[in-house]
């Protein structure tokens, strides 16, 4: 027990005693540089100043640094000044950064519905196209350390019918029998119609009001298989 007590005492004492001498003052490369920096440091009277231009992040600065909102703490090894940083935000939240985040959002393609179904329609028949993916989507992202909510709203739909014709509408179309977006294929054949949806964006930080994001994001949907055939008359006798 006595021996254990002595060991504890020695261990605690080591915090204040010099480390065991190895017979050299060599510090190794890194500490030699650190030592040089220490020697080159300005005298204590000229305490380091928090650079208002580069000190964007909070910092614990040794000495009595001049910075707005300084908070000081005295330790056994260091007297430090906590500087909150020149800007309470790590970096200003720019519209450009939000626009970039909007452009990178993994937004879904709109699902294209075609009537008649099952990939088969008739030549010279009003084939109906529509989508039910019309609702705004909310996405929460972190931009420059701040939580931003982005709302992506489908604004226009571009219908590429696969026969070289395309049409852009603000309407998402409607299911039969309302027939909002229709197209007539004039020739029989196989087509690959597809729908692209263009989102406009708004954002808000916290509970602040929504603000528009410049520009739009267009997501192309996958092509669908569609065959246009001629109608075959059936004679029905009574």
């Amino acid at each position: 027990m006595i021996a254990a007590g002595l060991i504890v005492t020695l261990a605690l004492g080591a915090a204040h005693a010099d480390p065991p001498d190895t017979g050299t003052d060599d510090t190794g490369f890194w500490l030699h540089q650190v030592q040089g920096a220490h020697h080159d440091a300005p005298p204590p009277a000229a305490a380091p100043q928090a650079d208002q231009h580069t000190q964007l992040q909070p910092a614990a600065i040794v000495g009595h640094a001049a910075c707005a909102g300084a908070d000081q703490a005295a330790g056994l090894l260091f007297d430090v000044t906590f500087c909150p940083g020149a800007d309470p935000e790590p970096l200003p939240l720019t519209l450009g950064a939000i626009r970039t985040a909007f452009a990178r959002l993994p937004l879904p393609a709109a699902r294209l519905a075609i009537q008649p179904p099952d990939g088969l329609t008739l030549v010279n028949f009003a084939t109906n196209f529509f989508t039910t993916d019309t609702h705004p989507l909310l996405r929460r992202v972190t931009i420059l350390g701040r939580q931003v909510t982005i709302r992506a709203t489908p604004s226009t739909y571009t219908w590429a019918y696969g026969d070289g014709e395309r049409r852009t509408t603000t309407s998402p179309g409607a299911a039969y029998p309302r027939l909002g977006i229709t197209h007539r294929y004039v020739r029989t054949g196989r087509y690959a119609p597809r729908l692209s949806v263009t989102y406009r964006g708004d954002f808000r930080v916290g509970a602040q009001p929504w603000r528009a994001i410049p520009g739009t994001v267009t997501i192309d949907g996958p092509p669908q298989r569609l065959r246009a055939v001629e109608a075959t008359p059936h004679l029905v006798g009574y």
Partner: protein, 197 residues
């Protein structure tokens, strides 16, 4: 005579719902600001492959918490990065985890970078550390989390190979270094490093 009544009809079944070919796109996970160390996990390659460049030390899990345990783990990690930098000249991670106001950190980083960029290198000289004293610094604002620590540092013998080919030997030694670890939202940073006599 027979009367014939003919009726022709094109029967088109207009079924509802042809939701075909839609892309199943699960909602993506909301991006978050988790700080992920980019260093690959250190997997020391033993034996014949030991000539392979050393892997950057991985941030220990403990070093991601704002506590004394976290500060200890971070200080040990920082010294592992110093050893890695001395061996490879790669100071990127050290720079990222050092305050610009930390003159000691900057001196070490600049020294290693200059030596390697000019064609020099370091052989040996690994530091091993023991944290002999650690304590939290308390300001008025409790959101400031900082720990100061006195570290006993032992350095192995080291050969400094200068760009002109000349060599300088640093003998093994032991010193005391005071460091200051400061917590920044989601990670530690070294804000001071001073050699103490």
């Amino acid at each position: 005579m027979r009367s014939t009544r003919a009726a022709s009809a094109v029967v088109l079944t207009a079924c509802l719902l042809a939701l075909a070919g839609c892309r199943a796109s699960p909602d993506p996970a909301t991006p978050t600001s988790v700080w992920t160390p980019s260093g690959s996990p250190s997997a020391p390659a033993p034996g014949p492959t030991s000539a392979v460049a050393p892997a950057e030390p991985a941030l220990p899990e403990a070093a991601t918490e704002a506590s004394e345990r976290g500060a200890r783990a971070f200080i040990e990690y920082y010294w592992a990065l110093i050893n890695y930098a001395q061996e490879t000249g790669d100071v990127a991670r050290l720079k990222a985890l050092s305050a610009s106001t930390c003159s000691g950190c900057s001196a070490g980083i600049t020294g290693v970078r200059r030596l390697y960029r000019s064609g020099g290198r370091l052989q040996g000289g690994d530091y091993s550390i023991t944290i002999v004293q650690i304590g939290q610094l308390h300001g008025r604002d409790p959101s400031h989390v900082a720990f100061e620590a006195l570290v006993r540092v032992r350095n192995e013998e080291q050969h400094i190979v200068h760009p002109d080919g000349t060599q300088e030997t640093q003998h093994a030694g032991a010193h005391r270094v005071a460091v200051l670890a400061f917590w920044l939202v989601d990670h530690w940073r070294l804000d001071a490093m001073e050699l103490r006599r």
